[in-house]
Structure formats: C-alpha cells, structure tokens
Amino acid sequence: MRIVIAKPGLDGHDRGAKVVARALRDGGHDVIYTGLRKTPDEIVRIVNDEDAEVLGLSTLSGAHDSLIPKICQKLKISGLSNVVVFAGGIIPDRDRSDLHNSGVRAVFGPGTPTSDILHFLEEVKSRKNKHQEVGVGQDPGWHWN
C-alpha cells in the first residue's frame, strides 16, 4: 500500500517515525515520509498529492488531542474519507476513544513492535478487499486496538 508517515506538531524528533517508515518499507509497502513539523493543511495536501491509502501520524508532544482530530476532520472535508488513519507515539489510554471517534483506526504506543503495525495493515487490506469500511470518514464500527 502507499502510506504517508507524517509528523504534526512542533517537536523535533523523528527517530521513531523513521524507524516505523523503514519497517513498513521492509514489509513491502511504499512509504512516503514528510519530514518534521507539518501543519494539518500541509499533511492533508501531501496525502492527496501522493494519493496515499494510509496515513500514519506520529506525535510525541501531546499534540494528539488537538492536531490529530483536526487532521481527520480536514481529510473528511477534502474528499479523503477513505484514507485509513493510524496514530503512534505517547498517547494516554484515556484519549484513545476520542481518537477512535475522530476516525483513527489504530493507536500504537512507544514500545509497539513494528510487526503489530504490519499486522494491522494486513487486516486493513483484507477488510478493504471485502469492501468493509475502514477509512477515516467511514463507518466507525471497527478499530484495531
């Protein structure tokens, strides 16, 4: 799949995002990395221009509770409702359900083995093949974790 890995927010560390990006490449995916400090509008434009099926958002700075829902919202109003969104980084358990409500399909904590993310993507693919809705703006019934 074509996957954009983006880093919203102001923190300047992208080691984690790059590790994930390389692991997904090694899992056979085409991974587009955006670089640091992208605004929600920029991320949405990148997802559009790259025609990505999946967007992975990596955050450390506690940006998840405002930035991630904002990005999800902008995807929905830009005709990108079928893009699958997952999040990674330091995200407290109590915030997960808010993210799910925004359309995020999986949340991976800092120690997650990258094989978990690959399994999630396999599941996404098989659901898509069965025409089940997994996009950010589609039926919110299912999430991975």
Binding site: D26, D30, T34, I46, D49
Partner: protein, 297 residues
C-alpha cells in the same frame, strides 16, 4: 478495462479543470496502466540526475521558489528505488523540499522506481504529458541517481541537469555512461564546503577535452541558496536541443523493451531454467519474445 479507461478519461477532464484530487488519482491511474487520451504535445520537462546525497532534492526545493516567483506552476516527480528484497520503498525526497508544502502551485509526487532498469518507469512520459495539459509549466524529474543507468532519463526529459558535489569520484560513473557528455546543464553543489571549487575545475577539464564545448559549469549551494538564480536563468534561456531526438527515442525504446521483459509473467521460471542450465540465454529471449508478441503487448 473499458470502464477503467473511461474513469481515466473522467479524471483527466476534471484534473484539467483544476481539481487536485482528480489530478492525483489520474497519476495513480497512469501508474497502473490506464492512460487517458493525451495530446502528447511538447511539454517543459527537466531531469535532475547526480549521485545519491549530492543535493538533488534540496536544489529542487530552491528552484521551486524561483519559479514560483516567476509565476510558474511546478510539478515534481521524485523517484526513489524500490527495495529488491521486500518490494517496498522509502520515499523521502520531499523531506528536503520544504518549499513545496507552502504553495498550492506546487505538486510533488513520489514514485517508487519498481523493477525497471535505470529506475525510470516507462509511464513517466505519460505523467509528464498529463501534468503539462493540466497547466503545470515546470515539470521536474528527480532520478534515483545510481550512476550508469541514469542515462534513461534522456528518454523522458527534454533537458537534463547533472549535479555533482565536492567529492568527485561519483561523477566518474556519469562520465563513463555518457551522461556528462549529454547533460544540457552541469552544476556543482555544496559550494559552502571545501573541495567544490576543485570539482568545478575537474569538470571543466573533462569538458575542455571536447572541442566546441559551450556549457558552463555552475557552482551552487542548495543549502544556502547561492548561485541558484544564475542556474535558473541558464536553464530558462536554453533552447531545447533537437539533435538529441534520436538519443531520446533510443533510451525510450530501450527502457520500454526492458520493462516488457522484466514484467514478463514467466520471468522467474526463465531465470530458474537459466540457472540450472536447461536453456541458453538465446532460447530464453526467443521464447519470451514470442510470448510477448502472441499476447499482443
């Protein structure tokens, strides 16, 4: 198939009307072989080649700003290699093109080179024609930058910039492959680092060996933005060189031929037979070509 062609046609229509979502989906459609009817008129394309890490993406970022000021709409097709092991790719050229994300007048598409030799997928030409018809006036192609095979870029770009760095040695590859000879523009990047001047001298020496050499060797720093305006004016004032037409067609022919062979459904089988010695290379070519013809590809 007919359905998909119709869809490509529809996407093309709304992309021409300025719909960015359609433009992006059109690129995907072309990538998967569903190509709309294109006029294939001359379009403005520039290939940027040079060894890995020399600063191609960073330079493109700088050039974007200059062309935006001049009122251009800039589209970039950025190629990165596909991993032969996993079949995946890490496409990170756009990280160095921060300028690209600031304007609607820039469109960056990252492309995995796939199994093609020279890292140039053969649908690149169609992508350029489509972008041109959709109103993109500067179309840049960043190559993978792996030496001798990069010559394939001449099949797809009307003009080519060869970028070198202070650390010569890499460029020897380009020189051997004839890229130095063919490139329309030559620049040495990282002028802020020691060694760049002598790289310029070295290149001038190589070029000086051929008579009638009129090309200038530009010295730039993509990091600091120096020398870019001069390079842009050389590029913009250059007439396209029609004597290259035959070379262009040759490279295009070879790369399409390669991809027919590489995408042959039985290629793995033939490779195994070759390894075990049960057929010769000539046998393999003969029967693969026959199969390609009978399928009418």
């Amino acid at each position: 198939m007919a359905l998909e062609l119709n869809e490509a046609q529809e996407l093309f229509k709304s992309a021409k009307n300025g719909d960015r979502r359609s433009l992006s989906r059109l690129m995907t459609s072309i990538e998967s072989g569903n190509i709309p009817n294109l006029e294939r008129k001359q379009c403005w394309t520039l290939g940027i080649t040079g060894p890995p890490g020399v600063g191609k993406s960073t330079l493109i970022g700088q050039m974007i700003s200059h062309w935006l000021v001049k009122g251009h709409r800039v589209a970039i097709l950025a190629l990165d290699p596909t991993s032969p092991v996993s079949g995946g790719s890490f496409l990170a050229d756009r990280v160095r093109m921060d300028q690209a994300d600031l304007s609607e007048e820039v469109f960056v598409r990252s492309i995995a080179s796939g199994s093609n030799t020279g890292g140039i997928p053969n649908y690149l030409g169609e992508m350029c024609f489509a972008l041109s018809e959709c109103g993109w006036t500067r179309i840049l192609i960043e190559t993978v930058g792996t030496g001798q095979y990069d010559i394939r870029i001449f099949g797809y770009a009307q003009r080519v910039l060869l970028l070198d760095g202070p650390d010569r040695g890499d460029i020897i590859q380009a020189e051997k492959a004839g890229i130095l000879e063919l490139a329309d523009f030559i620049a040495v990047n990282k002028s802020d680092l020691p060694g760049s001047e002598s790289a310029v001298q070295g290149l001038k020496l190589s070029l000086g060996l051929s008579e009638n050499e009129k090309r200038k060797v530009h010295l730039v720093s993509a990091l600091e933005g120096t020398g870019i305006a001069d390079l842009i004016s050389t590029i913009d004032s250059c007439e396209i060189n029609d004597s290259r037409r035959k070379i262009r067609m040759r490279e295009m022919l070879i790369s399409n031929w390669d991809s027919l062979l590489l995408n042959h459904s039985q290629i793995d089988l033939y490779l195994e037979k070759l390894c075990s010695g049960s057929i010769t290379v000539n046998d393999a070519i003969n029967s693969m070509v026959r199969e390609i013809i009978s399928r009418g590809e």
